[in-house]
Symmetry: C2
Subunit: 338 residues, 2 copies
DNA sequence: ATGAAAGCGCTAACAT
DNA sequence: ATGTTAGCGCTTTCAT
């Protein structure tokens, strides 16, 4: 016997398809005896529901899409892992898409072209703006992640990047740094991590020396090494602390410092951002900002679930526009001057 | 108008559903004029095929599953990214599952319980054995990845781990190391990387000092640090070179070396395995074995595609049992003694 | 080259 | 509590 169908189970159990369906979907109002007969038939036949058929009938796919720039970027790898877990607990499977930060691709994502047949979309945009997102036509429930968007009219889940960056910078100040630089201060005006950096400096009455602040073209480590080298080569007096917008950049920065014959943290203390898995085993290990990734993942899935219930009419709660996620500073060797 | 269906397009174009279907699926034998009319109708209506319905009718889902231990493990993150790309080029979307190396979960995977409704499965097992895989009942096309299986009766795509480990070890010998240790020599007898290590040592007439060889409980960096510390604490004379079964372990090992006041590579040279993105920005940067991940991904997808065509009867080519993937040694600072 | 219509396997409204 | 049955939207065989 190949691929038993619902009807086969029904026949074997001596009931109708409806009853089998009820049992399988855990509905109430099925007598104990009937349920047992059905379950036995299911086991005997090795029946598994055909999801394509179920999807068609229900109008739902049991699939959500997660769209990130690149899966091999450490932060997104770690985050994606959590999202898979969170989705699984509510019965969703996840298809992952990579945009590589491509604007055209990101546009297709919000237009709903990349992954149709999905019940919801968790999207970490980098190129596309809030306006375009707000004006989208696709009705698929959407949740935004990350620091690149704000006020796009859809739920947005992220840590308070300004506060987190300020905390990181303040930590450098607390351990005695006075000439503090920043790597990854790209697109200054709307870069929340740069804003947080400035804020902390200002609060402590420290000047921001423009020659110690660099933007980066990519988030990759090699770029961090390049930019910090530029700072060390270009400035008459080097910084005594550096805040890096990501851990990956920070790892590169540490290389640059070593190459210039300086020590971390004694000569230059370094703080990263993101708490990627490698920061812990780097030499020296990396002080960093750790966003609560589990919380991000769980809330993103929960927001989608709510949107879904809103569609189905089971819930009418208004969607939250923005949710702040917990974060904390993890102090490690790269700032440990004791 | 909401959600136009095939029939709507047909009506508007003044043709039958069959014709629209033909056009959409790019079949031959459609007159130019008809095709244009249909395309126009599709555009006007903004029609997009309902995949659930198509799946049901075709009996295929357009989905494959990729099952890895954990997505936030660097090697798998990088690999998964490539698999997504490769799958996309042939029109497959990918749902990713994590097993966390759990035997029970891995059993469910080969039993086809985790991800049904998929056209194929790319699986990187760690706990389940070749025998169980060979005896599986589920007919879903399966491709195996990684060094933990061999001869399971299904296509297996991996580098020659013995040869690669021997190459890494030989490199240590070439740069002058004589007391060489290994971290991650878990389950000695069937650990190909350990075999390769022994092979290279033997070929050069060097003894393997058991006190310099350690297995690891996990693949995480902290475990590498722990085990190399144990070696340095336990042995009267330390090694002058260490081969680590993974880069992640190697990063931890380097920390241990530093903590013991020794230098890499001058006192102890270190070679890793996998070429994770961080090896490049570590301090010192990490010499490693780089498997051709693109090749792995492309071949895995290709093997699934072939199996699929075999099912459909479009191809009768016999499946390849095992495919060796290219790899190379990348020499970086952790072994650069010039 | 195009049309008519029978499924694909399940869900859920309606009936009892 | 359980049964009957009409869809869900597309593909595809068989006609024409």
């Amino acid at each position: 016997m190949v691929k038993p169908r619902l009807q086969d189970v029904a026949d074997r159990a001596g009931v109708s398809m409806k009853t089998v369906s009820n049992v399988i979907n855990g509905y109430q109002h099925v007598s104990e005896a009937t349920r047992n007969r059905v379950m036995a038939a299911v086991d005997d036949l090795g029946y598994r529901p055909n999801l394509a058929a179920r999807n068609l009938a229900r109008g739902r796919s049991g699939l959500i899409a997660l769209v990130v720039p690149r899966l091999d970027f450490p932060y997104f790898a770690a985050l994606s892992g959590r999202v898979l877990q969170a989705a699984r607990t509510v019965g969703w499977e996840v298809v992952i898409e990579q945009t590589d930060g491509d604007l055209e691709l990101e546009r297709q994502v919000i237009a709903g072209h990349l992954a149709r047949r999905i019940d919801g979309l968790i999207f970490s945009p980098v190129a596309v703006g809030a306006d375009e997102i707000r004006g989208r036509a696709d009705p698929t429930p959407l949740v935004l992640l990350g620091e690149h968007v704000a006020d796009a009219g859809v739920p947005h889940i992220a840590i308070d990047n300004v506060a987190a960056a300020a905390l990181a910078t303040q930590h450098l100040i607390d351990i005695g740094c006075r000439r503090i630089g920043m790597i990854g201060a790209t697109r200054r005006q709307d870069n929340p991590r740069y804003q947080g950096f400035r804020q902390a400096m200002k609060r402590s009455g420290l000047p921001v020396d423009p020659s110690l602040v660099r933007s980066t073209r990519s988030t990759e480590g090699i770029e961090g090494e390049r930019q910090l080298s530029a700072i060390l080569d270009g400035s008459e007096s080097p910084p005594d602390g550096v805040f890096c917008a990501t851990d990956w950049l920070a790892l590169g920065a540490i290389r640059a410092i070593h190459r210039h014959g300086l020590r971390v943290p004694q000569d230059i203390a370094v703080v990263g951002f993101d708490a990627i898995p490698y920061g812990e085993v780097a030499s020296p290990s990396l002080t960093t900002i750790m966003p609560d990734r589990d919380q991000i993942a769980r809330r993103a899935v929960a927001a989608l679930l709510e949107a879904d219930e809103r569609t189905t009419g089971r819930s009418a709660r208004e969607p939250l526009d923005h949710q702040d996620v917990d974060f904390r500073l993890i102090v490690r060797e790269s700032t440990d001057r004791r």
